[in-house]
Symmetry: D3
Subunit: 141 residues, 6 copies
């Protein structure tokens, strides 16, 4: 169950926001969707012999991986706060590794590198959940 | 349960993609997250008297609502295909209304308009699910 | 002459705008110019053997076709209104097809596909003219 | 009648392009449409007392005026070439003034400044026509 | 002289790049220039009574502060590498604080907050210099 | 020593700004950094046989060269003013040539063209310095 109570109903939680107002809405799934796109692009690249298709795959992968980086940066800078480091002391380093991994997937057509990126995003997702992210940053459906 | 089997494992499903390669990855949650942001911005606007804060709320709401429109356009143009119209004959009209509603939320600070936008996105989400979207367009976690 | 704003002289016409204020200014030529660019890029791609030139053609075509989609989305969402459907019942479907055709021209170096895109944009232009677009949405030169 | 013959049919004309491939497609109307938008925004700003509407007008005007500048820069840098200076020796200066005027309209809500911008764009349009722009850079309808 | 690329002359240094090729070019001055812009905008905001000017200051400050964040993210993710942590163990935390400070300057018109941002960027600049940044990542003039 | 005195301390100098508020901050180094990136990309392209790497080099070079053009346009339009033409009568022409050279480097993998671009940017830098740019448009470190 994703998200439950609006930030304004929980005044003691001060979530920062991807829109930097802050609006208080975050979800690592934004990064994951783009990373899934990167993985699917690599899979399609590998199974195609068409020159134009493969060139497009390279350029679109570049764009989607950049979006992964953007969403990771927002989580790192705006969602995670000093008090979260107590429970998740590695979160800064995980965000760093994940962003660097997003750079690596730009440079490769190796499917394993895309899988590593997804695994790192899932670690960040755990920290988001473990710090109350779903209830604090999403609206109930 | 979101997403299950990669497009490349299901060659008979020809999903188009938000990246237009097509990579085959889509999720209405991308639109919903931005629309939740819009709703939270309006709520914060209403409860603030700070002039700078309110001006920032107006401009950031404009940006997030534009992102809602973008994600809706991608679903309308790239995900939904003629064969989906049989099961969801109103889907074009719903996408149209949702995109127009995203324009309306740019112009207002009325919380009810943001709620209407979320409801329309949820209708599109139903059509995405009803056309096999989760299995066809997302990776298993 | 340039100072005359038709919108304010014609208060009974409530044109929505590509800038979503709404400012009331629209013209399908914005989509057509980008589509002409796509067609010219394909023609140049076909007549070149230079590897770098052809790669640049593929990536720039991607960008211009995306701009075509953007301008079509704006017309579909913002310019066309429910009352226009009476006179042009197919306009939603034509916009849909045109946007899908813009996706197709991203994926191909077939000149005929670019011509089909131009023809669809010209159909939309007809509907824009038939619904009073020139007088309602542009300033007199 | 706008545009007539494709660049590739006229190999002696070497038009550079707004997409920098170069694709060979240009039209000052791209700048003019955005400038008309600016003018309409100012008119609507002047006739509204709604605080949110006026704030949105200010921010959207900023964006449209920036697009005017972009289209003017492309014409100045990419379309106009040294050989054009013989027939239109003032064209560099006119482009310069027009771009500076686009900056001015960002800063004002004075309708006359928007009119001056349109007049300068029309001068550039004259030079575009006088240097064979329509035939060299647009496709026949 | 301009032709010399330090990177290729210094193969033991593996600088990553802001363009993620990696091209190997970085400079914290990119962040600093935008932060100076933010500071100047706040100063001008404080000394103006013009409503439109002040609204524009708020929105442009938002954009420049976002660019600060972008340049800081690139330095954090792409320039700084694990081996740099030995000499500058706090660099991750400094980047984090600087990016958070860039969010703060979006939200305020307090000149002191802009000064704090500049001071943090200067700390990052020290680390860039201390890790051989100037020789490894810029070309000689 | 770059930059010395804040614009607001020198009220007689009315510098326009890259952010068009105007904030009063400019530096040709923004263009130079991107041009250095272009040069480094070409050097790396020439020394690589990897197909994906070379395609990425082509597309990233396109982006960085576009950023060069943007920064040059801002200097040409916003920083340089009519009174500067007396001391630097060729500055308009130099900006024009530099922007055209930025288009050329998009189209080539010839290192000499990138060197020509850097040389032109350095000429503009001279004019920026000769018109008091460092003191008027940057903050003291």
């Amino acid at each position: 169950m994703l998200g439950r109570i609006l930030t304004s109903l929980l005044p003691t939680i001060t979530a920062r926001a991807h829109c930097d107002l802050p609006c208080g809405v975050y979800h690592p799934m934004q990064a994951r969707i783009e990373a899934e796109s990167v993985k699917a692009i690599i899979a399609k690249y590998q199974s195609s012999n068409d020159e134009v298709f493969r060139q497009r795959a390279v350029l679109i992968k570049e764009q989607r991986a950049e979006l992964v980086k953007h969403h990771l940066w927002v989580l790192w800078t705006d969602y995670f706060k000093p008090e979260h480091l107590e429970k998740f002391p590695d979160i800064q380093d995980t965000c760093w590794k994940a962003a660097k991994q997003a750079s690596i997937v730009k440079r490769t057509v190796d499917l394993d590198e895309a899988k590593k990126l997804l695994a790192l995003i899932d670690q960040i997702d755990e920290a988001w959940k473990g710090t109350g992210g779903p209830a604090a940053t999403r609206l109930p459906a």
